[in-house]
Symmetry: C2
Subunit: 205 residues, 2 copies
DNA sequence: ATGTAAATTTACTAATCGGTATACTTTCGA
DNA sequence: TCGAAAGTATACCGATTAGTAAATTTACAT
């Protein structure tokens, strides 16, 4: 077999992801992706049968990468829950400050394809967000927070809202406001949770 | 002048808004908009010089309509702040349950055009969101909530997050979670605000 | 070396896109 | 009634789109 097909495939997925995340789906052409991946459009179609299939594969690959990244991110913040929340939102603010930031690739693509409920990309995005929210809930539970699933969802809502509003306004103040709200929600949980004041303790559950 | 140009213009704006909100910007063609507005593409270009200009005009018109709608919505909920929050999120849930719901037209378009920071549509969307957030803050302040601006922003974050996540998951449970979080944030404010327990009172500020 | 399957290229559709040249209607003022 | 401006329609343009036919190159097994 000439050239390594697997490496080419990876190169395509990488190039396509950059394009899709930056400029969405419709406005990126297969010619552009091919050019960015340094091959011809016909070769692109050798590896992926259609643009939709390519998008699906891109999101599938990115899903696993993002899960892994979130894992190491969580490990790095083994301290208090407050520190974890601060880390989450400050990382979000830094991320959003990047010059050509265009939001979460998953959210962006789902919203662009919002009128196509059967599109495979939407299924993957849905699974992706669920997994992340679930892992975040597990982290909170391990840190001893009572009602972790509920709190995780609420903080997740704040985070998604911050992404949307930072895209609209280009103002990272929304990440800070979200962080403040998240910590107040956490403290409310601690005060009322049957498990007690677990937020600041170092112990696991 | 033959036919009423103003009526035609309005018909175009209406048809274009439906299309843009439902399917975004790129994937809607001028031919489709013309057809939906029951005229030819050439006539469309007589009224609007370009697709970008049409989008701008559509958002401009929709901005005023949405502001007015929010006004009456707020008037209808003159009672307690809790009731106002419940009303906000339950209205959101009902809205999101509509069969071909595709999120806020403004947010959707901003996200689709996230890589074009100079696009006029983004300026309008930005002004739109600011106005709504500001009016919501005013309502809260009038109801006697301390730190109304901060709380308004936090609830706004929850609301935008709920829109995103409901689009991803098609599950209105996110609106309910957002409502719960919003009310907990409100109660936290009441407990800690210097102005005191204003949330349940009927008095103004 | 050489056959062969895998991988890549050049060159091409047919359709659709935003936008336009130009001629035709409609309506009102004179 | 009739000229002229306002508004609409027919028919087109060049560019771009996703996708394809067919020939060509590469690498490895024999």
């Amino acid at each position: 077999m000439p050239r390594d097909a697997n490496k080419t495939r990876k190169r395509i997925l990488e190039a396509a992801y950059v394009q899709f995340r930056r400029r969405g789906y419709s406005r990126v052409s297969m010619d552009e992706i091919a050019s960015a991946a340094r091959l011809t459009k016909r070769s692109l179609y050798y590896h992926f049968v259609s643009k939709d299939a390519l998008l699906t594969a891109v999101l599938e690959a990115q899903h696993h990468l993002a899960i892994a990244a979130f894992q190491t991110f969580g490990d790095r913040l083994a301290g208090s829950v407050e520190a974890m929340i601060d880390g989450l939102f400050s990382e979000l603010a830094v991320w959003a400050d990047k010059p050509r930031w265009a939001g979460s690739g998953f959210t962006r693509l789902v919203i662009e394809l919002a009128d196509l409920p059967g599109h495979p990309a939407r299924l993957i995005a849905r699974r992706h967000k669920s997994t992340l929210e679930g892992q975040f809930a597990d982290r909170l539970a391990k840190a001893g927070v009572g009602g972790a699933r509920e709190l995780a969802r609420e903080i997740w809502l704040l985070s998604e809202g911050a992404i949307s509003l930072m895209l609209v306004h280009g103002d990272r103040a929304y990440a800070e406001a979200a962080a403040r709200a998240a910590k107040r929600l956490l403290n409310g949980k601690i005060a009322s949770a049957p498990g007690g004041r677990a937020g600041r303790s170092r112990r696991g559950p």
